[in-house]
């Protein structure tokens, strides 16, 4: 893909970081508000899509590395399953941090309340793992598809 006009690229510079922060917000607040790991990850990956469209696939390869993203993807998945294995003292997927007073360990209040970030036990951690996996997985898919487009274009020009 070739880069788009200067207007689009400038706007991308402003919006890029905001989209990523919004995605992370959705991931981190997954256990309190609508959304979660998958949705937040998809929002974050849409920032990569914007980058690809506005700067073209060649230039964006300098910013986002496929190899690094696939490393992040597998580490996200490993983190997720490791958290599930941590509960194995009681049962698989047992929420051992909930109501323990430590990390994300506050007792969640019943009824209408502003929401306490420090609740949920391993749920927020799993949300983060899933978010990491989804943003890097979708990122890899986008990069590969952009690469494939380049490949077919080259063939057509021959």
């Amino acid at each position: 893909m070739s880069p788009m006009s200067k207007i689009v690229r400038t706007i991308t510079k402003f919006v890029y970081s905001i989209i990523i922060i919004f995605g992370f917000y959705i991931i981190v607040h997954g256990h309190l508000t609508p959304g979660g790991g998958f949705q937040g990850g998809a929002v974050t990956a849409s920032a990569f899509a914007l980058l690809l469209v506005s700067y073209g696939s060649l230039a964006s390869k300098k910013f986002v590395k496929k190899d690094f993203l696939s490393f992040l993807e597998s580490s996200g998945l490993t983190l997720f399953i490791a958290l599930a294995f941590l509960g194995l003292g009681t049962t698989f997927f047992y929420n051992l941090l909930a109501n323990s007073g430590g990390w994300f360990g506050n007792v969640s209040s019943v009824g209408i309340n502003p929401g306490d970030m420090n609740t949920g036990g391993v749920v927020p951690l799993m949300n983060m793992a899933v978010g990491l996996e989804v943003l890097s997985g979708l990122g890899v898919i986008l990069l590969v598809m952009a690469g494939a487009m380049e490949f077919t274009k080259k063939k057509e020009n021959l």
Binding site: F71, I81, A82, F85, G87, T90, T91, F92, Y94, N95
Partner: protein
């Protein structure tokens, strides 16, 4: 920490962990993934055998995810289970044993078969995920969870079927075909699950089985589930994906795919027997399944005879053999509401059908592996281009003879044991069905004689002068399968008494299945 209560979950948790860690390990050393996945699947096989022993001696096992204890199915004051529950009865673990065996041997065989390809970490990660999907479909006691695992297995198998699509077009086409078929079937299964959830507000199979009323909506759900699961199992009117997918996938994957389609077959039996049981119009639904079986048997084998591509021929035989399982269990379903007939021949027919599932996975796996061995050395799947290979590939020849004799139902191999059970019992239900089954068996023998003649017999061809026996890991996988086939053929009564009969009974006794989780009789 006491590991014993957690064995049911470790069967699927270990391959899942392995699949996620593999890409990381691959960064350290390119040779690790193969050996690592063999170890993981070996451990999984070991756990499956331990759980099987426990199920056979103690009774059905239950595992509740994330609860305070592994058997804590009903949280305080609730009448229905809310967590994801694994319920492992004799039928589940019977299928689990097949899956564990086949996927372990597939990984061993892959060690050398797929060595030269690129992206091996992805191949093994997907293989582990496919195994997880199959195990999950077989062990889960939750119908939504079943859908999730069905999707996992489908997506992993699509990617594996088209693994060699980089240089050739056909694997990509086969993968695409399978993708369309499996996404349609998964969506329809989800729709049926939605119907159940909308009516009864539970997703647990045991609770659903107790609540189900066989209302108009339930009939619609049944009508959606049966053809779709038969499609995933490769029964005839919906078999178009099978020859392509089986012949284009790498040989070890084809072997595992056979087990994956049997997992769908298991789901079909689970839905009809455990979920609906005698509330169904059993005679009608039983006959529908029997007709699926008859069509699969006959059309599968007649299509197989004219094939020239060795794996395509075997794929059509896989369809044909699926027909036997559908026939056996279908007869069991047709007489389910009639206790006298059920005792007289219904249970025997079901035992035959269920035993045939395991036998089929073993000998068809062996045959696909020998086809893979021929392809590995000669580079072709076309029977017209092979010949005289018995001179240079002695072990493969012997393994092929064992597999071919087993699939044709010759004694003393395992195919004979299960086919005899089916013939005898189905004859008492309807003699014509039994005669058709025998004719199909003869045609099967005819077509395998043809394969044997054109691939192995004859003078040594000059272009295969360099051909020698396949590497050890491939011989090992084939030898283990042959050993199992001969063992099952010589001592079928041991297997039937300890594994197959409890499996058939666990399908028939719906009340027991519910009581394991909900308590009370």
């Amino acid at each position: 920490m006491n590991i014993l209560p957690h064995l049911p979950i470790l069967i699927i948790a270990l391959p899942l962990l392995g699949a996620f860690i593999l890409p990381l390990l691959n960064r350290i050393n390119k040779k690790v993934p193969g050996i690592f996945s063999v170890l993981i699947l070996g451990a999984s096989l070991f756990f499956t055998i331990l759980v099987a022993i426990k199920v056979m001696t103690v009774g059905p096992q239950v595992y509740v995810f994330g609860a305070q204890s592994t058997g804590f199915t009903l949280p305080s004051g609730l009448k229905f289970p809310i967590r994801i529950i694994f319920e492992i009865d004799a039928m589940s673990i019977f299928m689990g044993l097949i899956t564990a065996m086949v996927s372990f041997l597939g990984a061993v065989y892959s060690l050398t078969f797929i060595q030269k390809e690129e992206g091996l970490d992805k191949y093994y990660a997907l293989l582990l995920l496919l195994t997880v999907g199959m195990f999950g479909m077989e062990l889960t006691g939750d119908i939504f969870n079943f859908f999730v695992f069905l999707e996992i297995a489908s997506i992993a198998s699509v990617a594996l079927i088209s693994f060699q699509a980089l240089y050739k077009g056909e694997p990509a086409e086969a993968g695409f075909k399978y993708m369309v078929v499996s996404s349609i079937s998964a969506l329809i299964v989800l729709f049926a699950v939605g119907i159940f959830y909308g009516q009864y507000d539970v997703l647990n199979l045991a609770a659903l089985a107790r609540l189900i009323k066989y209302s108009q909506l339930d009939k619609i759900a049944l009508g959606l589930m049966v053809p779709v699961l038969a499609m995933k199992a490769g029964a005839v009117p919906m078999h178009m994906w099978t020859p392509d997918a089986y012949s284009e996938a790498p040989a070890p994957i084809t072997m595992i795919l056979v087990a994956a389609s049997q997992a769908s077959l298991y789901a079909l039996f689970r839905v009809t027997f455990t979920l609906y049981n005698i509330q169904l119009n059993t005679l009608t639904v039983g006959w529908v399944i029997i007709i699926f079986g008859l069509l699969s048997m006959f059309i599968g084998v007649t299509m197989a005879i004219i094939q020239k591509d060795i794996k395509r021929l075997m794929a059509y035989h896989a369809i044909s053999q699926t027909g036997y399982m559908l026939l056996g269990v279908g007869v069991g379903l047709a007489v389910l509401a009639d206790p006298v007939a059920l005792q007289k021949y219904g249970i025997t027919a079901m035992e035959g059908g269920i035993f045939h599932i395991m036998n089929h996975a073993m000998y068809k796996g062996l045959l696909f592996l020998t086809a893979g061995a021929l392809f590995y050395r000669t580079g072709t799947r076309d029977l017209n281009h092979m010949g005289g290979l018995a001179h240079s590939m002695k072990y493969t020849t012997i393994f092929f003879i064992i597999g071919a004799a087993a699939i044709a139902g010759l004694p003393p191999f395992n195919g004979f044991a299960s086919k005899l059970l089916i013939y005898e019992s189905v004859y008492r239900f309807n003699p014509i069905l039994s005669i058709i089954a025998m004719v199909v068996s003869i045609l099967t023998l005819a077509s395998f004689v043809k394969v044997f003649h054109s691939a192995f017999l004859g003078p040594k061809l000059p272009r295969y002068k360099e051909v020698k026996e396949v590497p050890t890991s491939m011989v090992f996988a084939m030898a283990v399968l042959s050993g199992i086939i001969i063992f099952f053929g010589l001592f079928p009564d041991v297997i039937i008494k300890n594994l197959v009969h409890p499996a058939a009974m666990s399908l028939i006794e719906q009340v027991k299945y519910s009581a394991t989780i909900l308590g009370g009789m």
